[in-house]
């Protein structure tokens, strides 16, 4: 009895003294509800862009946010003074973005002042003022999206980044190949190169100002470097056989590429300053699709040296080659995330090509997509999204995106023709 008493006391005192601690270890990861109120504009003429709309679309597309429809809004505040938090809580919004656009009389630039609020805590998370010309309104909007995204998710937003991709239009007089650049939301598409001959393997320089690609415009494959702003381009020296798959080194001074001048495709590194060429793989199998690790110390590539296409890592300092993928009979087109932890690749499972993700730290390969004929994955600079080429129901090539945790998926519908080989830009300043 005394023992029971003691236990009781212990239990009771334990209960009484230690404050209750509840642990939550599971979540649902549903999109956060955010209200993006149309930004105020006092000007007489309508604005060329609906800033709030662009921001809302950006956030929605990220898969992490759900927008409160404008028609539900009880008021349209433009700054803190006009906000009634209760209304927004009632609508189920967790966050509230308001803003106002102004332009000084006679000035060319617009000024956008925006504020982000946490509806529950009624705290202001962001309060900023930015400005830009009429042609830059979309850039300003994407900047707002990036700020909101980074604040609320803890990772940098990629709404101001751009993508390169190839489109192919088959006409009566043959195919039309285009290298295009667009905002990551697909807007403001611009053709960089148009050709009757194939264009392949677009690749970004780490500064985001130059690109490299392979063009067959001369009737044979050639690697070109081009400045985006000026359109000035330069063709790399041509070698016998295959010239392909250019990949910029992280410091921007070298390019890895594939040449078959020695008989079968091997990987070379070219110094862009000195023009010096160095062969880094030696194998009778095919070595191709080089990609630089973010630290610049190693290159991953695809090789069939084991009999089947698998991904290998070449350490440049030692020339050591290490096989990275073992699951399945086809793993190719490897891309590393910025932190070097994850390897995104094309994985064949049951005869179907999917985008896969391999955790290089813990191992294990996860298939991210349910689509088929997935190819050419490219990782967003924040390491969170993967853009890849696939086919829609009408067998048209389209671009699709999937978050690296597989939770978020969306397609970017093609406007015309087939879309292939996307390349996600680095962060652009």
């Amino acid at each position: 009895m005394r023992l029971i008493l003691c236990l009781t006391l212990v239990l009771f005192s334990g209960l009484a003294r230690a404050e209750l601690l509840i642990e939550v270890t599971q979540g649902v990861d549903e999109p956060s509800p955010i209200a993006v109120v149309p930004f105020g504009w006092g000007g007489s003429e309508p604005l060329p862009e609906d800033i709030a709309q662009i921001v809302e679309e950006d956030l929605k597309r990220s898969g992490l946010f759900r927008a409160i429809p404008r028609s539900d809004m009880l008021s349209l505040p433009h700054d803190f003074k006009e906000v009634f938090f209760r209304d927004w809580k009632l609508l189920g919004a967790s966050y509230l973005l308001v803003g106002r656009i102004t332009r000084a009389p006679g000035a060319a630039d617009y000024q956008i002042q925006f504020e982000l609020f946490d509806v529950h805590s009624r705290g202001r998370l962001i309060g900023e003022m930015i400005s830009g010309g009429g042609a830059e309104l979309r850039d300003l909007a994407h900047y707002v999206s990036d700020r909101v995204y980074q604040t609320l998710t803890g990772i940098p937003g990629i709404f101001s980044t751009k993508i390169l991709y190839i489109t192919v239009e088959r006409g009566p007089e043959g195919s039309e190949h285009r290298l295009q650049i667009a905002d990551v939301d697909g807007a403001r598409t611009r053709t960089i190169l148009q050709s009757r001959e194939p264009i392949m393997s677009p690749s970004w320089a780490p500064d985001g100002r130059r690109i490299a690609y392979v063009s067959f415009e001369d009737g044979r494959p050639g690697i070109y470097l081009q400045e985006l702003a000026t359109g000035v381009r330069r063709k790399l020296p041509h070698f016998q056989g295959l010239n392909g798959a250019p990949a910029w080194s992280p410091d921007g001074t070298r390019i890895a590429l594939v040449l078959s001048r020695d008989g079968n495709p091997e990987i070379y590194i070219m110094d862009l300053v000195s023009g010096e060429m160095r062969r880094v793989t030696r194998h009778f199998g095919i070595d191709t699709e080089p990609f630089w690790a973010a630290d610049g110390e190693s290159i991953i590539f695809t090789s069939n040296r084991g009999g089947r296409p698998q991904i290998y890592r070449l350490t440049l300092a030692t020339n050591e080659v290490e096989r990275l993928t073992f699951e399945g009979s086809y793993n190719a087109r490897g891309r590393l995330t910025q932190d070097g932890r994850h390897l995104v690749l094309v994985h064949r499972r049951s005869g179907v090509f999917h985008i896969g993700l391999q955790d290089l730290e813990r191992g294990g390969l996860q298939v991210l997509t349910q689509t088929s004929l997935d190819e050419s994955p490219t990782v967003a600079p924040n390491g969170h999204m993967v853009l890849y080429a696939t086919q829609d129901r009408r067998n048209r090539g389209i671009l699709a995106a999937v978050s690296i945790d597989g939770r978020i998926k969306y397609n970017i519908p093609a406007r015309t023709g087939d879309v292939r080989e996307p390349a996600w830009s680095p962060f652009l300043n």
Binding site: L11, L152, D359
Partner: protein, 279 residues
Amino acid sequence: MTQRNGYAVPVAFSVLLHAIVLYVTFAGWSATPRLPDRPKVPTQVVQATLIEMKPRAPQVVPPEPEQKAPPPPPPPRDSEREKQLEKERAEAERRKKAVEEQRRVERRRQEAEKKKKEEEQRRKEAEERRREEARKRAAEEEQQRKREQERLQEEKRERVQEFLREQARRQEVERQQAQEALIAVQSYQSAIQQHVARFWSRPPSARNDMQVTLQIQLVPGGDVIDVVVIESSGNGAFDRSAVNAVQKAGRLPVPDDPRLFDKSFRRFKMRFRPEDLNW
């Protein structure tokens, strides 16, 4: 022990006395009715007893008739003899009478004495009885007192036992209440946990090794009135996701019992530590 020792002697004495009294009484009673049948000869027993008890009286009395009886005068002559005879007869008569008288007196005396002795005996017996009764009464009273004392002691013991039992009962009840409270707390704990988990959307920057601890304040009914980060994960978005989960949950399942509510749910901590993320 000392009490028992103290009683031993009186009890022994009493038993002895009883025996003597009984013996005497029995003997006395059985002797008394027989006495009138043989008046001439005082019984040996009686006498012996008397001698034993009162040695003075029998010594004086019994020899007297024997001394007076022996001297009868010689018979006289005719007339004279007649006269003498007459005289002698008269004398004899007188003596006889005297003897009878004496005997009667003696008998009366004896009877008186016997009576007196019996009286004495009775008195003594009565006295003895009184004493016995007094003793008995005293003993009874003593016993009564002891019993009373024992009763009181018993009552006291009973009260103590009752108190202990009551205490044990109370403790048992408290223990059960504590147990029930604990179970209730645990069930509400997991209800809150599940409720909040439904509202917890982790940002993509969340990792399985992150954790944030919040201090949560409720009002009765479970409405959240305050959420404070008391131990940050270092990732603002992650921290905010936890705070938002609680805020969005809005009203948490809490016990109606105000004591239980005050004890555990008015203010408590909540730790968010994802285990179900990919990495």
